[in-house]
């Protein structure tokens, strides 16, 4: 919140008379523009190349603008790019990713929110211990747990299936998300819960009627974290999803990696752009809330 307030204050403050271009200001802008370019140039090259036909790519420099920009490569990447002998395009991976993403995001956020609320507002016996375990869980690199996880899932018959990969994403999301929600709910006065208890509301009624409606900002933070995290995941999808459910990232790698004859850079680049788009869109739509939620959590937690 404080960030937003400062912006408003700066914008509404009267400009100093005769806004002057000082050497310091030129340096500042030069630095900012160079920094932005540093991160943007790879993206621009990818986007630029995806709009060119192969002839142009072979003939010219990667920085040359397309003579006749066309989305033909995008269409090919979407519908008919090949992974091995399968030539249905990256859309298969897209829909697999959606099928993995939606339930994983919904359940991991819902469960974490309830966990965080329970840990923050209903101090029960052992709640501190559970919190400690969660902290530990949040810091363990998940490569360590991969093999045991494979064994566990294959024991219960979920290994290499859609429910399997969803369960894995939910479990790996829980520690960090629970901590985020706990910190957020710790900042909510306990008297609200007491008032609701006297009003006759139980654990879940209080959560859904009172706590959840207050959590918009933190829900959006969790949503962005989970959508980007799960969409961009490669390792877990590769290991746990099974051949039928490989997510878009894995399929992208397969498309780029399976070379028969000439390497079609424009299709590879288009497939890359398509894979990167969903998290970007989510961020552009809700980035404002993201900053707000992070700062709110930071101040209150």
């Amino acid at each position: 919140m404080s960030v937003a307030v400062e912006h408003v204050a700066v914008a509404s403050a009267p400009r100093p008379k005769g806004f002057q271009i000082t050497p310091g200001r030129i340096g500042l802008y030069a630095f900012l523009i160079i920094s932005a370019l540093f991160f943007l140039i790879p993206l621009l090259i990818v986007f630029n190349t995806s709009l060119k036909p192969m002839d142009e790519i072979r003939a010219g420099d990667i920085f040359d603008l397309p003579i006749d920009p066309s989305f033909a490569a995008w269409a090919e990447a979407w519908t008919s790019a090949c992974t091995g002998r399968n030539c249905e395009g990256i859309r298969v991976g897209f829909w697999n990713s959606v099928k993995i993403l939606v339930p994983s995001v919904i359940f991991s956020i819902l469960i974490s929110a309830i966990n965080g609320y329970a840990l923050a507002q209903w101090r029960f016996k052992g709640s501190e211990l559970i919190l400690g375990a969660l902290m530990l869980g949040a810091f363990i690199p998940y490569q360590v747990i991969l093999y045991p996880m494979v064994r566990i899932l294959s024991t219960v018959g979920l290994y290499g299936s859609l429910p399997g990969i969803i369960v894995v994403h939910i479990i790996f999301g829980l520690p960090v998300l629970t901590l985020i929600f706990r910190n957020f709910y710790s900042g909510i006065p306990i008297e609200l819960i007491k008032a609701a208890r006297i009003d006759g509301a139980g654990f879940f009624r209080i959560f859904f009627s009172i706590m959840l409606p207050m959590s918009t900002n933190i829900l959006i933070v969790a949503l962005i974290l989970q959508v980007t995290g799960i969409w961009n995941d490669y390792l877990l999808g590769l290991i746990f999803a099974g051949r039928e459910n490989l997510p878009m990232t894995v399929q992208l790698n397969n498309i780029v990696g399976s070379v028969t004859g000439e390497r079609t850079f424009n299709v590879d680049m288009a497939a890359t752009m398509l894979t990167a788009l969903p998290p970007l869109i989510v961020y552009f739509l809700s980035g404002r809330y993201f900053v707000r939620g992070i700062t709110a959590g930071a101040v209150k937690g």
Binding site: P189, I198, D199, I210
Partner: protein, 362 residues
């Protein structure tokens, strides 16, 4: 019937005992104030009655029903919190009706009760607002309204006025008193403000460090405080205390006081209602500022005037009596006429006497 019985309640936070053998019987329709300084356990006791805090020993009965281990929701109580605790995402009407909606009250009845409470508290025009759009006083009214719509036989108030400014506080105090008279419900009210306690209560339970020091009518606590603590806590300015000596003789009981002049060694307090026959020895004497009169002759304390505080309706004069500071409440005019010394008559029928070691009334 909504009597409240609190039976020998003990409560601990770890090794710290916050309620010590609290035992109260509250009649139906009474307005009981739990009064005491911060940390005396009054809010904890209220939470125990509400069921928000577990008690380790003893029990709570509401309307003759043992509710010691009953959930707050099933105790048939409503409560108003110090911080108001309004649900921020709901409108005023939503806040007030939440409890009824949870309990699946029919819609028509919910509307009827909400508009009844809104009318009673004059917040009808606020029903569609969110709590964040309300002033402190309005929030307080909504919080009270949320309790009222439940129409429970028992209402609990946890320092409801302490976040309001002085003027609003007086207004709301009158409002709460009016509500109590209108509803005839049993109310328990926690505060550290003795004025609130004296004006609202039919009974006061004065607490100190987890113990109920005295439980009774406000005038009892004021006129016949059970201990030095009660005497000092209630009344503003506080009761004057002087060290004296009791000397029972055949005819009555002599009370020797420092600074006693006019050719007298002692005043007679034979008319005092001693709990047990008076014993000779040291005693602490308590005198209310308004019970002391300035006299020209007769037995009286010789006082040197320190200063006079005019307070509009009356004046407060401070005297030095043999090294002890004594305050006397005077009429505004009399305050102007106080000379350099004065003679303070001891109201033998209105003194309070305390054992200096046990600090209890004798």
């Amino acid at each position: 019937m909504s009597t409240i019985r609190i039976r020998n309640v003990n409560k601990f936070y770890g090794p710290l005992q916050v309620l010590k053998n609290v035992d109260l019987a509250i009649g139906s329709g009474e307005f009981t104030v739990l009064l005491g300084p911060s940390g005396c356990g009054k809010s904890t006791l209220l939470s125990a009655i509400a069921g928000l805090e577990e008690i380790q020993e003893g029990g709570v009965e509401l309307g003759g029903r043992d509710v010691t281990h009953v959930e707050p929701a099933k105790r048939d109580i409503a409560m108003v919190f110090q911080s108001y605790a309004l649900y921020p995402t709901m409108t005023v009407a939503g806040n007030m009706s939440f409890g009824l909606r949870v309990n699946r009250t029919p819609k028509a009845e919910i509307e009827e009760r909400v508009s009844w409470a809104a009318r009673l508290l004059q917040i009808e025009n606020l029903l569609d607002r969110k709590p964040s759009q309300l002033s402190g006083g309005q929030r307080q009214r909504v919080a009270i309204g949320r309790a009222l719509v439940r129409k429970t036989p028992v209402y609990l108030f946890d320092e409801p006025l302490s976040n309001l400014d002085a003027k609003l506080r007086t207004e709301m105090r009158v409002e709460i008193k009016r509500l109590h008279q209108t509803l005839g419900a049993t109310m328990i009210y926690v505060t550290h403000d003795q004025i609130e306690a004296m004006t609202l209560a039919t009974h006061i339970a004065l607490m100190r460090s987890g113990v109920v020091e005295q439980f009774g009518h406000p005038e009892d606590l004021y006129q016949r405080p059970a201990s030095l603590f009660v005497a000092g806590f209630i009344g503003s300015p506080s009761m004057n205390f002087l060290p004296g000596t009791l000397a029972p003789n055949g005819a009555g009981v002599g009370l020797e006081l420092p600074g006693l002049g006019g050719g007298q060694q002692a005043v007679d307090v034979g008319g005092y209602a001693f709990a047990e026959p008076a014993k000779a020895g040291e005693i602490t004497v308590g005198l209310r500022p308004e019970d002391i009169e300035l006299v020209n002759d007769g037995p009286a304390l010789e006082g040197k005037t320190l200063f006079v505080e005019p307070m509009g309706a009356d004046s407060l004069a401070w005297f030095d009596v043999a090294g002890h500071r004594v305050s006397v409440r005077l009429k505004a005019d009399d305050g102007k006429r106080v000379g350099e010394t004065a003679r303070l008559a001891v109201p033998t029928d209105k003194v309070s006497l305390f054992d200096p070691t046990s600090e209890n009334r004798v």
